[in-house]
């Protein structure tokens, strides 16, 4: 798939309830973009979670020519809500193709609020990650409430949904289709389009009948025994 056509804004901002798989998606998105673009930059702005953050994949991202900036670079393993000045580069340098990985929940999305005036003057897209297996956002109603809270706190408007419904290693086609139905429902109520369905490579082919493109990913945020 041509990922730049699906995500055709200069800055992709990845938000959602924690545990929906934002980081896995964001890391895969950056890697896929790097195959089509120079100057891809990913910013790990997760100030909520202490583990499983995109900064853990620094070496792999850098090998693919992606620059990673994280919320507290000199103390990558701390949970300090400090943002590096470098982050402004993504907003100011228009030759950069940026991916922002935001921590879970409206609380995590608050980091974006101070950059709101800069972001709105750029070509950006706020993406909301949908996962129908997460109990607190499994219905269209609860997911939309989350989405609206994130919009309210960030002052940004969401313009794309990403279905990332999975059950870790136990994911089947059924899970992805369940998420597709939820994303569809959210889309019908809000008018926000579904940009893609995320599926591990082994499932991608069998999902080609879905209306929107399927983004095949390989799992990067592995657990230590995987």
């Amino acid at each position: 798939m041509n990922i730049s056509k699906v995500f055709d804004h200069r800055i992709s901002i990845v938000t959602g309830h924690y545990g929906t798989g934002k980081t896995e998606f964001a890391v895969n998105l950056a890697l896929a973009l790097a195959a089509e673009h120079d100057n891809v930059m990913i910013a790990d702005l997760d100030i909520v979670n202490p583990y499983f953050r995109s900064r853990e994949r620094k070496a792999e991202l850098e090998k693919s020519g992606i620059r990673l900036i994280s919320s507290s670079q000199e103390a990558a393993h701390a949970d300090i809500p400090a943002l590096p000045a470098e982050l402004l580069g993504i907003f100011q340098n228009r030759s950069i193709r940026g991916v922002l990985d935001i921590g879970g929940d409206p609380v995590g999305a608050r980091v974006l609020a101070r950059f709101q005036p800069k972001i709105v003057s750029e070509d950006y897209e706020l993406l909301f990650v949908v996962n129908a297996n997460r109990p607190e956002v499994r219905t269209a109603e609860s997911a939309i409430e989350y989405l609206r809270n994130i919009e309210k706190i960030t002052g940004l408007e969401c313009s794309g949904l990403v279905n990332n419904t999975h059950l870790c290693g136990e994911t089947t086609e059924i899970e992805v289709r369940k998420g597709a139905a939820l994303a569809q429902e959210i889309s019908e109520i809000t008018g926000i389009p579904v940009r893609c369905h995320v599926a591990v490579e082994r499932l991608a082919e069998s999902l080609s009948d879905l209306k929107e493109p399927v983004f095949p990913i390989s799992i990067k945020m592995k657990k230590p025994w995987e």
Partner: protein
């Protein structure tokens, strides 16, 4: 039932609610803050009590009060916070107040790191508080098992009128995994006629107390506690053996290291190396007899203990069970550094070479 994707800490909180936790007292600390966060969001809906205490010390004493009144009380914290609660835990054990304490462990000593650790083994099995007391310690190694343990922990605590700890390294609290909410087997429990809820016409007040001024009475009380601990040792010990029957190397590990060891085991078995995994599920009571009997088998050549600890702590219990009959090797890291599958494989192969 359909599987759902849960974060470990959220699942701990939800499991406690499903087990009938009446009140939660705690103070936020990484990597377990999602427990109080979830409790604060959900408990009021069910008319339950959530209090963010001013400190861990206050929280454990609130648990003492609520548990003493017969309610299902719980606190959770991470290593340094649990250190602060040790005084309260010995009082709870002494006064025989049931409660559930969750320790989502991080690396130490002191403030250490917010990354996962298992160096609170001594603290939870030997007790960081004073006196001859024991807390039953459950050590699940995935989120499903954590959820099951948490629910059962409330019943165990009530049955023995004793604090029950559920301990997991921070990774289990922070990771996501699919789980299923299964109805758990509830235990038959006696009514809490000891609880300090008022006299209701009885002759005597119920008193919750750990102070026994009279030496004879204190001796009798301690004897009673010792008998209770012996009963727990007899009834509640749990472990899991994987591929141990013909194993030449027995890996001992609990929590996340046990899962890493399992992948190592599969890799080693594929190479024809006979490896087994012995995973304690209760850290106290430690499955001493089971391990003692297992290592007595002629096929067992060496034991490899793997922990998230620089020097190893559970290894002392392993030594007690092994009784010097077989050599023991150790692999461990602190600071949140995980032993890798490759490292475990290499250490197991080398250990076997050395002893053969």
């Amino acid at each position: 039932m359909e599987k759902e994707l849960w974060k470990g800490n959220e699942a701990i909180a939800e499991a406690a609610l499903r087990a009938g936790c009446d009140c939660y007292f705690g103070y936020p600390i990484t990597p377990q803050s999602e427990v109080p966060e979830y409790m604060s969001a959900h408990m009021p809906k069910y008319g339950k009590v959530f209090v963010q205490a001013e400190s861990e010390l206050a929280a454990i004493n609130m648990v003492y009060g609520a548990g003493g009144a017969g309610l299902r009380a719980m606190t959770s914290s991470s290593s340094p916070g649990i250190s602060l609660q040790q005084e309260g835990i010995t009082y709870l054990a002494g006064a025989e107040v049931p409660c559930v304490i969750v320790n989502c462990m991080r690396g130490g000593p002191g403030l250490g790191t917010i990354q996962p650790g298992q160096s609170d083994y001594y603290q939870c099995t030997r007790g960081g508080g004073n006196g001859d007391y024991r807390t039953l310690v459950l050590a699940p190694s995935n989120i499903q098992e954590t959820v099951d343990c948490i629910q059962e922990a409330f019943d165990i605590a009530d049955q023995y009128r004793n604090p029950v700890m559920v301990v997991m390294d921070g990774l289990i609290g922070q990771m996501m995994e699919p789980i299923e909410w299964k109805p758990y087997k509830k235990r038959e429990l006696a009514p809490k006629d000891w609880a300090a809820t008022g006299r209701y016409g009885r002759e005597e007040h119920n008193i919750i107390n750990s102070l026994y001024i009279d030496p004879e009475l204190c001796d009798v009380h301690n004897k009673h506690l010792a008998e209770k601990y012996a009963l727990i040792e007899k009834n509640e010990v749990r472990w899991e053996c994987i591929d141990c029957d013909d194993a030449e190397v027995i890996i001992t590990a609990y929590g996340t290291p046990a899962r890493i060891a399992l992948t190592a085991l599969e890799n080693l078995r594929a190479q024809g190396i006979k490896v087994g995994l012995f995973r304690p599920i209760t850290l106290w009571p430690f499955p001493e007899k089971a391990l003692h009997d297992l290592v007595g088998n002629d096929n067992v050549k060496v034991i490899l203990d793997v922990e998230l600890s620089s020097t190893g702590q559970m290894i002392d219990d392993i030594r007690l069970a092994v009784e010097g009959r077989k050599p023991i090797r150790y692999l461990g890291h602190a600071g949140g550094v995980m032993p890798t599958v490759e490292e475990i494989c290499e250490t197991a192969i080398n250990a076997l070479k050395e002893v053969k």
